[in-house]
């Protein structure tokens, strides 16, 4: 069966060049980078090369990059680690309503353990106002954590402005850049970021690898204790093949960023407009144009439920995702869509297509051919649809 993968914000395939490089480090250059011998030294050298590659993509210096087991751990290390390091200075944290669970849950864990948390709202496009952050700042604010781009609706947040504000107030600033890495230029200095989370498996690197940028001079208390690897910031035998793969993926992403953005923006707009043309009662979620990630399409198909859409697409080989409660394992639909003011029934019907390097126009045509039929079929089954149609006709 034909398979069209449009869920790159969930995870990406590993670039074949990256995978081939990793293979070498699994089976041949398999030394432990802490070892004195040549097996260890060749691993160590490659590890440091990867650190350089990651640093380069975000405008950092290599010693400021700490490797972790992924974006989630990096978010936790940033937030728990900075809060612990700064707890004598204050106990107030600021974050946004549309952060990833890795940030929100961690902030909420702290809120339950003696810290105060302000969650700044977003507008209907999924963007927060810098003014709201300014208003939230208190004398005891120690940390602001705001994502660079949102994983569900692709909204891009005004990080540089928040960074300026945080710097003025001497507040540590953490940015979750998992979704923007490789898609938008990142410069930790120009953006005045102190801590920045990145993850490998969203940029054609392997799963289970991420990194936290920690600005020189900023302290984070480690989460994991042991052998003292990663300059004592993160103990545990380094996942060298994974890290090396991540480094390579960063290098490739840096080289291809403009080309990738151009390609994906084109497909994005084709898909978004195509859906709006072919299906009525569709709402676009997130901003339109430059404030949106080049690879994100998010629409709500009214009167139908997200998981049903996903299953129907899946039977045709099309992989997408939804903010429906049924796909999140919780009883509520996506907190991001709700924070943007969507009513529950529309949030339940949300559908995210996230594009990748390998997608083609032809694949988009296939989706545009199939999706209207699916929506039609599910709407014919939906008690909400005839209600709405009747109401409309009555008006």
């Amino acid at each position: 069966m034909r398979r069209v993968y449009l869920d790159h914000s969930a995870t990406t395939p590993v670039d074949p060049e990256v995978a081939a490089l990793m293979m070498t480090y699994y089976t041949e250059k398999y030394g432990n980078p802490s070892s004195v011998h040549s097996f260890g030294r060749e691993a160590k050298q490659a590890l440091e090369e990867a650190r350089k590659q990651v640093a380069e993509l975000i405008g950092a210096t290599p010693p400021e990059v700490t490797f972790t087991s992924g974006g989630t751990e990096a978010d936790n290390l940033a937030i728990l680690g900075a809060a612990e390091a700064l707890r004598k200075k204050g106990k107030h944290l600021i974050t946004s309503a549309i952060e990833h669970h890795a940030v929100l849950e961690t902030c909420e864990y702290l809120a339950k353990n003696g810290f105060d948390l302000t969650v700044v709202p977003v507008n209907e496009e999924g963007i927060l106002s810098v003014e709201d952050i300014r208003q939230a700042i208190r004398p005891d604010t120690i940390l602001i954590s705001v994502m660079h781009a949102n994983n569900e609706v692709g909204s891009i947040l005004p990080i540089a402005e928040i960074g300026k504000l945080a710097k003025e107030h001497g507040i540590t600033f953490h940015v979750d850049a998992v979704q923007s890495l490789g898609k938008l230029p990142i410069d930790v200095n120009a953006m005045n970021v102190d801590l920045l989370t990145v993850s490998s498996h969203k940029i054609y690197g392997p799963k289970g690898v991420g990194a936290l940028y920690v600005r020189k001079g900023v302290r984070v208390v480690p989460l994991v204790h042991g052998g003292g690897q990663e300059k004592k910031r993160r103990s545990g035998t380094e996942n060298t093949p994974g890290i090396i793969g991540f480094g390579k993926a960063c290098q490739i992403a840096g080289q291809r960023m403009a080309e990738d953005a151009r390609h994906q923006t084109k497909l994005r707009d084709k898909l978004m407009h195509g859906i709006l043309q072919r299906i009525d009662h569709v709402k676009v979620n997130g901003p339109i144009g430059a404030k949106r990630l080049p690879n994100n399409v998010n629409v709500s198909i009214e009167f139908v439920e997200g998981e049903s859409l996903l299953l129907s697409l899946d039977m045709l080989g099309i992989a997408a995702s939804s903010g429906s409660a049924c796909t999140s394992g919780s009883l509520d639909p996506s907190h991001v869509l709700l924070a943007m003011g969507l009513v529950h029934e529309i949030a339940h019907g949300s559908l995210r297509f996230s594009l990748g390097r390998q997608n083609t126009e032809e694949e988009i045509d296939y989706v545009l051919e199939q999706l209207p039929k699916i929506a039609e079929r599910l709407r014919m089954m939906s008690p909400l649809y005839d209600q709405a149609i009747h109401t409309q006709q009555a008006q």
Binding site: E305, S324, H344, E345, S382, P383, L384
Partner: protein
């Protein structure tokens, strides 16, 4: 995730649609929680002659709706009243644990339709 039987009922749902001037209608769920099921009944004597459904919800919600209609067509109302959500799930070869509570309401919708039918009958009498 879903069993083959669930996927079959999701892909080819039985008895989907409406009955014009039904003898009974039942609806459960709400859009907030993401599942709404409506069941229409045509009753002759004590027998469910025809049954249709409309469902807004996930794969499990559609499949349980479809399954319950198949299970009760031709049955007496009393027989239908004792069919539980669990029995529907079992008839589908099981559901993922997280779907057992929120999306497995089709029997409730059926029961609501029967109650609706009986209420109407009482009024007539």
């Amino acid at each position: 995730m879903y069993s083959e039987k669930v996927m079959d009922h999701f892909t080819n749902p039985r008895n989907v649609g409406e009955i014009v001037n039904p003898d009974g209608v039942g609806e459960v769920g709400n859009a907030k929680c993401g599942d709404i099921m409506r069941i229409y009944l045509d009753v002759e004597g004590d027998i469910i002659k025809d049954v249709k459904f409309k469902t807004f919800g996930c794969g499990a919600a559609v499949a349980t709706s479809s399954m319950v209609t198949e299970m009760v067509k031709g049955k007496t109302l009393d027989e239908a009243m004792v069919i539980s959500n669990a029995a529907v799930a079992e008839a589908l070869g099981g559901l993922p644990p997280e779907k057992m509570h929120c999306s497995n309401l089709a029997a409730d919708a059926l029961h609501a339709a029967i109650v609706n039918y009986r209420e109407k009958q009482e009024k007539k009498e």
